[in-house]
Symmetry: C2
Subunit: 349 residues, 2 copies
């Protein structure tokens, strides 16, 4: 089969790789229908995270189950499935507590499973899925092709935007600020609207993304950053600050923005992987009783609810994919995201 392999900074190729086979009877083999390029993939692509050996890439995919082990009972060959950005067993205390990203038997796409065996990544034709029962979520019926992008967002960005909103404590009728207009920030807007927020202010400087933000439910756009940006958000909220703030970037600047626009007693939900400079100013948080909550999303936990709303047509997060390419053009997809020529790329094997 063919799959993307990153060899070094800005050197990603579509290689011929071994067809996966079941290793444990709890595995499944999934034929990938669509995969995505994630903003966090760019860290390795840009060399910010070093890639010592060639690495299979991609942690977001939907597909059709091709084969299952004898212990797999929740998915069957022919099922259309969504895969969260990590594999999890669904039975350990962490999964039961709703933290599948800390699963005791966690495996990452492109990494290793609990036996130390390599795990395929999403940007390829087939993937061996460890812990298939705990990991995969079946899409009931036969989804239309047009729904694939929506379903694909449930692998990561829509679930992550939802995590930001949940962590920020978004409640019906309350005010929300979203820092970041990437795919996750845009999905955070959708999530905040879905949870009933009345006012959703997004901090965005890109006109194309601003349009999508408004389409997703943002009520106000603030283009400024830094102190001016904070002041603008405060002015829009009568000087009070937002009840909930979604931090969807992960830099020191974005975290400062997020904390700066939260009202006393408000919540900051942060899902941008903390870049080195991100900091939490304890005095500012303490004296304002600002809640800080975030981390890798509980994708597997959220997936059934979000899937239901996508299938019911209540939200269309797939609009974040503004570049659709065949898998063979994976390098073009990475380049477009790297150069900010698109929000997010979808690849079809």
């Amino acid at each position: 089969m063919r799959a993307s392999v990153l060899y070094g900074p800005r050197d990603i190729r579509l290689d011929k790789c071994p067809d996966p086979a079941l290793r444990r009877q709890s595995d499944a083999i999934v034929q990938v229908t669509a995969a995505a390029v994630c903003g966090s993939d760019l860290w390795r692509y840009r060399g910010v995270i070093e890639v010592a050996d060639p690495r299979r890439m991609g942690h977001e995919f939907v597909g059709i189950v091709a084969e299952v082990g004898t212990e797999v009972c929740k998915v069957r060959p022919g099922d259309v499935v969504v895969a969260p950005f990590n594999a999890s067993d669904g039975t350990c205390s962490r999964c039961i507590d709703g933290v599948p990203a800390s699963c005791a038997r966690i495996a990452y796409w492109g990494g290793q499973d609990e036996d130390g065996a390599p795990v395929d990544a999403g940007q390829g034709e087939y993937v061996r899925v460890p812990l298939a029962d705990g990991t995969l979520v079946v899409v009931p019926g036969a989804p239309e092709t047009a729904q694939i992008p929506d379903l694909l967002t449930l692998s990561d960005v829509m679930a992550t935007g939802h995590h930001a909103a949940v962590c920020a404590g978004v409640d019906p009728g309350r005010t929300v600020a979203v820092v970041g207009d990437g795919a996750v920030g845009l999905c955070g807007i959708l999530a905040a609207r879905r949870l009933g927020a009345e006012r959703i202010i997004v901090m965005s400087r890109h006109s194309g993304r601003q349009r999508l933000a408004l389409q997703f439910g943002a009520t106000d756009i603030v283009g400024e950053r830094g102190v001016e940006g904070i002041q603008q958000v405060m002015d829009l909220l009568d000087g009070t600050g937002a009840d909930s703030v979604l931090e969807c970037v992960g830099t020191r600047e974005s975290m400062e923005q997020a904390i700066g626009v939260a009202r006393p007693g408000g919540g900051v939900g942060y899902v941008g992987i903390p870049a080195g400079g991100a900091e939490l100013p304890i005095d500012q948080l303490f004296y304002n009783n600002i809640i800080i909550r975030g981390g890798p999303a509980a994708v597997r936990t959220y997936l059934p609810d979000l899937l239901r709303d996508v299938l019911a047509g209540e939200m269309a997060p797939g609009l974040v994919f503004d570049l659709h390419l065949p898998l063979s053009e994976v390098a073009a997809g990475y380049a477009a995201m790297d150069e900010r020529r698109c929000v997010k790329a979808l690849l079809r094997p």
Copy 2:
């Protein structure tokens, strides 16, 4: 009247001070029945926070209303009242949002009111209370003398322990770890038990405090600190970590302990005023989805509920006062707390 005045490090005296009078018609004058010395008072007493001018001390008191302005309608002369550690109007958006410690018109005992006029502190015979309707909580009936210590804890330490428990997300049947065995940590145990925690592990090295901890509902004591202390707590919880952790100290070490014993997805409620070294390690928090929430307690918000339980005899937080002195011996009270010869001192004018 007489009131305590701090002149410099370890120099606190009972001075003759002007009798307070109403300044605004929203003020009340309260005759103090009992006041407390707080661990945070020791910061100024020890010179950690510099005292440039002589400063009136004490932010925890209960008393009897002596006089009210014409705009005061919720308290009347003769009412027994509990005062939270700050005055608040009860009507601004922050008070309504349950963050009275961020009230738009906040005044601190021993500080200034919104007009810049000095506000009396609690360790004295009388106190002018700004924003009386928003600040004071009336104790129904005529409480017995024996209940005074319990009521006095509602000014700060019991409400603060409760805040730690609320912020840590204590839920019925779940596991709790408490870092700190001072008055707030001990009250945190009571609060956790009151909220239905099943297992309450307290980190404590002092035998007297351990006894009170067990009396308050702790199920386990861990005497070790640092890495060994974290390991002991983890061992008690099958390696999983606590669902909720109450950080009731405020140092770098105590925060490390607290975060170190929280399970993935668990909550740390922190109420110890952050000493310079306290830090929030963002990577550890992020990758474990640990929630960080805390700050000055919402005393005024919590007071009615906590008061009801105290009056019903369901908890006796007043046991944290292991030293009762007349106000004239205020210096002895500070010295005993400074030298760790008592947990907390109660002063009676």
